[in-house]
Each structure stands twice: as C-alpha cells, then as structure tokens.
C-alpha cells in the first residue's frame, strides 16, 4: 500500500472540490424542498386528518 504525498496545491483543489460538492448538495436539498412545497400548493387545499369528521366527506343531508 502506497501513499501519495499531498502537496499544497492538491490540498487546495481537494478542499475546493469538497466544498463545491457540499454546496451543490445543500442547494439541491433546498431546491427540492421549495419545489415540493410549490407542487403541493398547486394541488389546491389539502385536508388533514384532525380527529373530526371532514365536512366534505360527510353525506349531504337530503341528498342521494
């Protein structure tokens, strides 16, 4: 097993690569979050389960 000597320039480039990839990942996660939020909003109002009957799910009185 051999080890390559890490020079100053190599260290700098490795650091720039790591920081660049990290920033890309963080940006991508943020973009996915915002994109998901926008997509869900586009679906319209979302009714969540809150232990009470949903008004829209109840049968219409006098209706068929």
């Amino acid at each position: 097993m051999s080890f390559e000597r890490v020079t100053g320039g190599m260290h700098e480039r490795r650091k720039s690569r790591n920081i660049g990839v990290a920033l890309c990942l963080v940006f991508f996660i943020g973009l996915l979050f915002v994109l998901t939020t926008v997509k869900i909003r586009d679906l319209g109002a979302v009714e969540g389960f809150d232990h009470t009957p949903r008004a829209t799910a109840l049968p219409i009185e006098g209706g068929s």
Partner: protein, 319 residues
C-alpha cells in the same frame, strides 16, 4: 450547442506529476459558455410560452436543462479528448490539459445526464424530459461520435442539438410541441452553419490538424464562403418571416430586419473576399461575422421575449 470560442488559443502543456481535479476543473467539463446560450434560449422559450410556470418551477426547469446541456458537453469532451489535444482552441480543456481523466468526464457526463432528465421530468413533464434526453443523445452520439468525424455536413445536422433548448423550454411550460417552438428551433438550426463556418475560415489549421472534415477542409474555402452566403439568405428569410407568425410582431420585425441586413451584408463581404485579402487583415471580416452571429441570436430571442410582454394589439399587432 456551439462550443466555439475565440479564447484559449494557447496550447496547454500536460501537467507533470499527480494532479487532483478541483471543483472548477469538473465545472469546466460542462462547457459553461455553451451552457449560458442554452440557458438563455431555453429561458426565452419558457417565457414566450402562453402557459406560465411558478417561478420556482421555471428556475428548476432551466437549471436541469442547463445541467443536461453541460452533461452532453462532458460526454463530448470525453469522446473528443484525442482531437482536443491537437487543436489550439481546445487544448486547454480539462482532459487534454491533464486536469481531469477521460473516464471521470464520462462518469460525470452520464451521471448528470440521468439526473437532469429525471429531475426535469419530475419538475415539469415527460415530454420535456424526453426532448432533453434526445438532445443529449443527439449531441453526444449522433454529432460527436458519428457526424463530426465523418461528414462536412456535421455542423448542419449536428446544429439540431443546439436548437432544441428553446423548444424544451416551451414544452416544459406547455406540455406540447407547437409551431412557435418549431420556429425557435428553426432559427437556431439555420443560424448554426454560417456561425461555425465563419469560425472554420479563420481557425483552419485547427481543424486540419485534428483531421475533422469541416467544409473548409473537404470542399475548400471558396465553397465554404458560398455556403455561408447561401445559409445566411435562408436564415434571413426565416428570421424575418417569423415576424409574421405568433412569436413575432412589430418589435421583432424591426430587430430582425436590422440584424439580418447587417448579417447579410457581412456574408456578402465574406463571399466576395479571397484568401489573400482575408490573410492580409487576419480574417477581420470573418471574425467580425462570427462575433456578430453571437449577438444575432441574443437579440432575436430578446425580441421574441419582448413581444410576449407587449399588450396584444400594440402598434396594431398583426397576430
């Protein structure tokens, strides 16, 4: 996807000793200058569409189209590494200069291609993603691997790859291909040959050294000058004619008439010159034509966008 540039004309020396690529070296694989034109035309295609996306969706769509274009650029660099190293214009690219290994470029290109296509699908629609996938395939396989080294018509047919971005932008917004998207495609498709042939006229030795069958090499420079004029006439007819379609209007017409008059005038100058005259002033007219061709695309697409901002009926708009 024009990868032409007047920069980087100094040949690079191969690096000595071990070298680990930095982030910028990998980013350079994506041909940022080409990406900028892709982003611009795709954005205009998206903005000109009658359906508007939420700005976050629009931003993401343009980003993934740009990443897809960049990925095809990386695949192009991987395949063309052997000829890039002998061309002055491309010798400083990451692979020929030894900063990135060819296999790394292949991995980056394939990974980003898949990523961009899937993400564009999830962000917009399947048709836009399919068009992006086809564009990457067309540029990396049809143009780079097949046409570029086999026929002087390489940039004529291969120009389709660069013409797709505004269509993808339009489809990302509307979900369908329409006549407007086809017109924007045609505009770039017809613009590409004179743009590249002007470059080939003053970068001849590069293509000679790399044994790429550019028109200048296979049919001579006189024929190339004739072709530039011929394509410029067809382009002018198309560009001005588009003013009377749904993507045009009075503002676009004014821009198209002025730009195409200048472009045609310069094409005639190129056609009338011989090699002696060109070499005497170091291809000044050809270089000027090439530089103006970049402005030509930018201004035409800006006019298309401006037309979408104007109220219908502006200056008695005809459509």
């Amino acid at each position: 996807m024009s990868d032409a540039s007047l920069n980087g004309t100094q040949s690079a020396k191969p690096l000595e000793g071990p070298y680990e690529a930095g982030f910028g070296d990998y980013f350079a694989l994506l041909k940022p200058r080409v990406m900028s034109l892709v982003v611009y035309t795709a954005l205009i295609g998206l903005l000109a569409a009658p359906v508007s996306l939420h700005w976050v969706e629009a931003f993401a769509a343009i980003l993934f189209i740009a990443i897809g274009a960049g990925a095809s650029g990386a695949l192009n660099m991987w395949w063309d590494a052997d000829i890039d190293v002998v061309m002055k214009r491309t010798a400083k690219r990451p692979i020929p200069s030894g900063r990135v290994q060819a296999q790394e470029a292949l991995a980056v290109g394939l990974a980003l291609s898949g990523f961009a296509v899937v993400m564009l699908w999830l962000t917009t629609n399947l048709l836009a993603a399919a068009l992006l996938a086809f564009t990457i395939f067309f540029y990396a396989v049809v143009y780079t691997m097949w046409l570029k080294r086999s026929t002087p018509q390489n940039i004529v047919i291969g120009g389709a790859a660069g013409a797709f971005p505004p269509m993808i932008g339009w489809v990302a917004a509307t979900g369908s291909v329409s006549i407007e998207a086809a017109l924007m495609f045609a505009l770039i498709f017809m613009w590409t040959p004179p743009h590249f042939w002007a470059l080939a006229l003053f970068m001849r030795s590069d293509y000679d050294n790399a044994e790429i069958p550019m028109l200048t090499v296979t049919h001579g420079r006189r024929v190339t000058r004739n072709h530039i004029l011929g394509y410029t006439i067809v382009l002018a007819a198309l560009a001005v004619g588009a003013a009377f379609t749904s993507i045009g209007g009075p503002v676009y017409l004014a821009v198209a008439v002025i730009c195409n008059a200048i472009f045609f005038r310069d094409a005639v100058r190129i056609w009338r010159r011989d090699e002696a005259a060109s070499e005497l002033d170091n291809f000044k007219v050809e270089r000027g034509f090439f530089k103006f061709s970049l402005l030509y695309v930018v201004v035409h697409f800006a006019a298309i966008w401006v037309e979408t901002l104007l109220p219908s009926g502006f200056l008695g708009g005809w459509l």
